[in-house]
């Protein structure tokens, strides 16, 4: 057993610092000073692909920052998660971003990074509007076609589905925490919590660790700022 311990120590010393862990393939080596192939799913304000030009959004800009750091040129591949995630498994793509959550069911195809930011969805109110504890019968503006509609309907709230929450509805509204400020204040009703991750090819641990270092170094404020910029850009 003592031999085992000393072997372990030697291994740790050998690998300390120099490129550990390594990819099972060659993703990190290919990306560095090469091409970064990124799948983007539509999920504003995190990422979206306009009809013309490069994708936009908070995570898109983060990818650009990462690529710059690695000296990589980016190729964007907009698509659905169903199309993009299986492409990760066989290393046709190097990265998939677009508002992915740590709970996403793609772990058979992709490796999800450690969550780098947690965002909450609140019912927020403009100044002068109040939200009672009991939501039944309360009119609330909610982005149409989202799970929040169902969450509020189940509490008997009077859901006003809007294509886009602007904050000037004069009603309590459902928004991500980054939009809270002077114009909208959070109520006590927290509807959802999302741990945001990116997806990388499974087993490309050197590359994954590189991406995770980049993401974990981001502060919550930095991400909030990018999200606000993304909201403005739309």
């Amino acid at each position: 057993m003592r031999r085992g311990v000393s072997l372990l120590v030697v291994v740790v010393l050998l690998v300390g610092g120099c490129g550990w862990p390594r990819d099972t393939g060659t993703t990190l080596a290919d990306v560095r000073d090469g091409v970064l192939r990124v799948g983007v799913t539509e999920s504003p304000p995190w990422a979206w692909a306009p009809d013309q030009g490069d994708p936009q959004g908070a995570e898109v800009w983060l990818v650009q920052r990462l690529a710059q750091r690695l000296g990589a040129r980016i190729e964007w591949y907009p698509g659905s998660e169903t199309a993009l995630m299986p492409a990760l498994k066989d290393r046709v793509l190097d990265l998939v971003v677009g508002g992915l959550d740590a709970q996403s069911p793609w772990i058979e195809h992709a490796s999800l990074t450690r969550p780098y930011v947690t965002t909450r969805t609140f019912i927020a109110v403009p100044p002068g509007v109040a939200v009672p504890d009991d939501l039944s019968g309360v009119r609330i503006a909610v982005p149409a076609g989202t799970a929040e509609v169902a969450a509020l309907t189940s509490e008997d709230a009077d859901v006003v589905a809007v294509p886009e929450v602007t904050g000037s509805e004069g009603l309590p509204v459902v928004v991500g925490e980054w939009r809270l400020g002077d114009k909208l204040r959070a109520s006590e009703h927290e509807l959802a919590k999302q741990d945001h991750v990116w997806a990388v090819p499974p087993g490309e641990n050197g590359w994954q660790v590189q991406v995770e270092h980049f993401l974990l170094d981001l502060s919550h404020d930095e991400v909030t700022e990018l999200l606000l910029r993304a909201e403005d850009a739309r």
Binding site: P21, R22, T113, R114, P202, E204, N205, E212
Partner: protein
Amino acid sequence: MRVSDRFELPPDKAALHRRAVRLEWWTILFFVVAITMLAVTLGQSQAMKAAWIEDMLGLVPPAAFLIAARYRTRTPTTRFPYGYHRSVSVAFLAGAVALFGLGGYVVYDSAMRLVARERPPIGLVEVFGQQIWLGWPMIAVLFATMVPAIMLGRVKQRIARDLHDKVLFADAEMNRADWLTAGAAILGILGIGAGLWWADAVAALIIGADIVRDGVRTLRGAVADLMDERPLVVDGSRPHPLPDQLLMAVLDQDWVADAWLRLREEGHVFAGELIVVPRPDTDSLVERLERLEKFARGFDWRMHDLVIAPASRIEGKP
């Protein structure tokens, strides 16, 4: 003659057995802690699932031992006239099945991972604000579970030999299997870190094959026990010397012309039948037979239940 008693182990062995019971409680505690520690460090990964199943199976032999320990000394009843000694044999079977199941699962799981060419992802984790590769804490936890498993296994094996306790022996094998799989997992994680995606599965496959071999041997032993195989030493490697020694001692009695003995294991103790052919003109045969029974039981603590029948001739010995 007295046809039933609760006695099973002599005082020194009983003390050893109490120690074994304490050890098994520690083992259960150890596995529960290990399961929790693995859950915390490994999160939702596939490796976690495998380790979890392994640790669950590791709970079977100590649980079987402790349950059997409650039953084994119960007095025979009209429903169970042979007593409850065999609860130990039943526990042995349960432990053997668990060991075999563990080996089978490890082989299946790692073979499937190889076939699917599964590439295990291991990323970063933040510990006290430091970003470190998750592989290191995983190795630390696995190493921490290895050390107690090795020590528990060693002590149990020694006690198992002294007590002639096969459940305990199977459990010691289980602990061995446990630290071996942990060792394989450590090698696997190092392999993954070095970019060898297959290292984990191959290491587990080799260890799994070893556990299966162990499991098959133990399972055969347990089934053979229930088939009333002649007593074997606790690791099943050779026949137990007691039956032959006892038969020699019986034949040495001056009034015995011929004798035949068959014994089976009932958990810790042996039971069976002795047929003796007295020399012609042997007087007070009943008293002699009763004395012989006392002699046999005093011969060794394992000799627990012996029915002696006189006969004029013995034929058809196997």
